[in-house]
């Protein structure tokens, strides 16, 4: 049962992570391929602060602000670029962040990672704390989804969609396109940082290997599979992907075949992305296109 809660918490963390990417990719049309960097910034900031003696809750709050600020700082120069180039710049940023965590041993302990990250609100470490942490995560996830719902239905959210569809139209309506995009990235990074912080305090051990390109692909898949530009799409996508991943562990696979599991899983993810784009680019839950703006 604890294991089930464990999966649920990871799925919920990915719900937040995927929803944060969806704000940029689905609503604002920004192809952020380095989103994992903000997940990592949130995780590392919160972990380092709480290990330095700050209370975990305060560390998480500071981590959010750090992620949002670094998101805005990256967005301001990177948004001078359009489309594909924004993708490359963010991809490079993601790799830079990972290399930083790997090389700056004085801060991050490099490949050894950070063990013993305390859980917030006095939740016990180890297995016994998992059910309580689950409730904690559910509360936060619901709050995040409510905020995102409010945001995307607000004039700001609608303006983002206009920017995505046609920047010139947005400009003609007197919208400040640059500011809209920066705010979208900052908000996306804030929630990615939240997901990262939740992750760090849940698994209590993080290392640079948790924040690789694979996580970027995974979260991208959650958004695209579920349906980008919708609130429920990434939620569904995250649950499907995480449960699929965990179910694989229960398949009766001979141990000497074990080394094939992870590559095959990767191939499936890659193939699903390609096939989705070919056959159903809108994902499982398509976006309603008849908005009354």
């Amino acid at each position: 049962m604890d294991y089930f809660y464990h999966i649920l918490v990871i799925a919920l963390i990915y719900v937040i992570f995927a929803s944060s990417l969806n704000l940029e990719l689905g609503y604002a049309g920004l192809y952020n391929f380095g989103h994992v960097a903000f997940f990592a910034i949130g995780a590392y900031t919160s972990a380092l602060l709480s290990l330095a003696g700050f209370s975990p809750a305060a560390s998480m709050a500071i981590a959010l602000l750090c992620s949002a600020a670094s998101g805005a700082l990256l967005a301001m120069p990177a948004l001078r670029l359009s489309g594909d180039y924004f993708g490359i710049a963010t991809l490079a940023f993601g790799e830079l962040a990972r290399l930083f965590a790997l090389n700056e041993r004085w801060l991050t302990k490099g490949p050894m990672g950070l063990p013993g990250i305390p859980r917030p609100l006095g939740i016990e470490a180890g297995i016994s704390g998992i059910p309580v942490y689950f409730i904690f995560t559910v509360t936060i996830t619901v709050a995040v989804l409510l905020i995102l719902r409010k945001t995307t239905m607000s004039p700001f959210g609608r303006a983002l969609k206009v920017v995505r569809e046609d920047e010139f139209v947005a400009r003609a309506f007197g919208k400040n396109v640059f500011s809209l995009k920066v705010r979208a990235v900052a908000m996306g990074s804030l929630f990615a940082g939240l997901a990262g912080a939740l992750y760090a305090h849940f698994v209590t051990y993080i290392s640079p290997y948790d924040f690789s390109l694979n996580e970027t692909i995974l979260v991208l898949l959650c958004v695209v599979l579920g349906g980008k530009g919708t609130l429920s799409g990434p939620v569904l996508g995250a649950f499907v992907i995480i449960f699929f991943q965990e179910l694989l562990r229960f398949l009766p696979i001979p141990t000497d075949w074990g080394r094939f599991v992870s590559p095959i899983q990767g191939m499936i993810y890659g193939a699903v992305l390609v096939i989705l784009m070919l056959k159903r680019p809108e994902g499982i839950i398509p976006e309603h296109r008849t908005l009354q703006c």
Binding site: Y85, A92, F93, L99, N103, Y269
Partner: protein, 288 residues
């Protein structure tokens, strides 16, 4: 001390020549199809791994040819089954599909050959010394191969109808089609050139160092940096960009920890995009 820097410079130029191969392939595809192929890195890795596989059956020198040929087939299959059907849809679908494709191909490598480091098993030969600079035979081969391939592209651009077509397409797709240039033929040529360059460069790098599944993505990011330095679609810019990246990251070793060797190109990408998104080496505008 200056000898040390000269040595780093030389290493940089040789590495840069190979990066230029990757970058030229990437930028040629961009020039014709106006999209950035995230799966280009996997052509690099597959070229190297296929050579490893074929060299178990036939001598190494002969194994290169079927390996490059299969890589070309992979590239053509990419175009035919994924990119061509998506060309009419929104840009993001193409981009996500190419990322998915690269992930698929990379994990295919891991499935077939495992995730561990592999090598072609050449014995390390003593380097040759010119004017106090040590160069290995592999490095000379890398440089010469890059020179020959890039010379081939230059000749193609300068003297053939195909090259003219390429230049026309890079300039304006619609106009090129209007004047009756066969875009299908151009497209196929571009994929073949880019796959041959990627596979050959991948093999050379694998001879010099080793093979690992992530070699594609690592070199792809360098090629991206080179393409951006040169201005997307600009072949000569990509060439200079590749050389620049090679020199920058090798000279960088003198100043930063070697762990950051790869980071230099990533930082360059962000810096270029910050200050000069049109590219720094986009000087020869007429010679795209």
């Amino acid at each position: 001390m200056s000898g040390y820097y000269l040595q780093l410079m030389t290493n940089g130029i040789i590495a840069g020549a190979v990066y230029a191969l990757f970058a030229v392939g990437l930028t040629l595809v961009y020039g014709v199809f106006r999209f950035i192929n995230f799966a280009h890195g996997e052509l690099i890795a597959w070229g190297a791994y296929l050579t490893l596989a074929f060299s178990a059956l036939i001598p190494f020198g002969a194994a290169i040819f079927p390996a490059v040929a299969v890589t070309v087939l992979i590239a053509l299959a990419q175009e035919r089954y994924v990119y061509a059907p998506l060309r009419k849809k929104a840009g993001i679908t193409l981009l996500i599909a190419s990322i998915g494709l690269s992930y698929f191909l990379r994990n295919g490598l891991r499935l077939l050959w495992g995730s561990d480091l592999k090598s072609f098993g050449f014995e390390a030969a003593r380097g040759l010394v010119f004017f106090g600079i040590t160069v290995s035979r592999t490095q000379i081969a890398m440089f010469l191969a890059a020179l020959i391939f890039l010379g081939f592209v230059w000749g193609l651009h300068k003297f053939t109808m195909l090259g003219k077509g390429l230049r026309a397409a890079a300039d304006s797709l619609e106009l090129a089609e209007i004047v009756g240039i066969d875009m299908k033929k151009i497209g196929r040529a571009v994929w073949i050139i880019s796959a041959v360059f990627a596979a050959s460069g991948g093999i050379l790098i694998a001879i010099d160092t080793n093979l690992e599944p992530m070699m594609g993505i690592a070199n792809l990011l360098k090629a991206f940096a080179a393409v951006l330095l040169g201005g997307a679609g600009n072949v000569w810019g990509a060439l200079l960009g590749g050389l620049f990246i090679g020199i920058a990251e090798n000279l960088g070793v003198a100043f930063f920890s070697p762990g950051y060797k790869d980071a230099i190109s990533f930082a360059l990408i962000i810096a270029i995009l910050l200050f000069k998104p049109t590219g720094i080496f986009a000087i020869m505008k007429g010679m795209r």
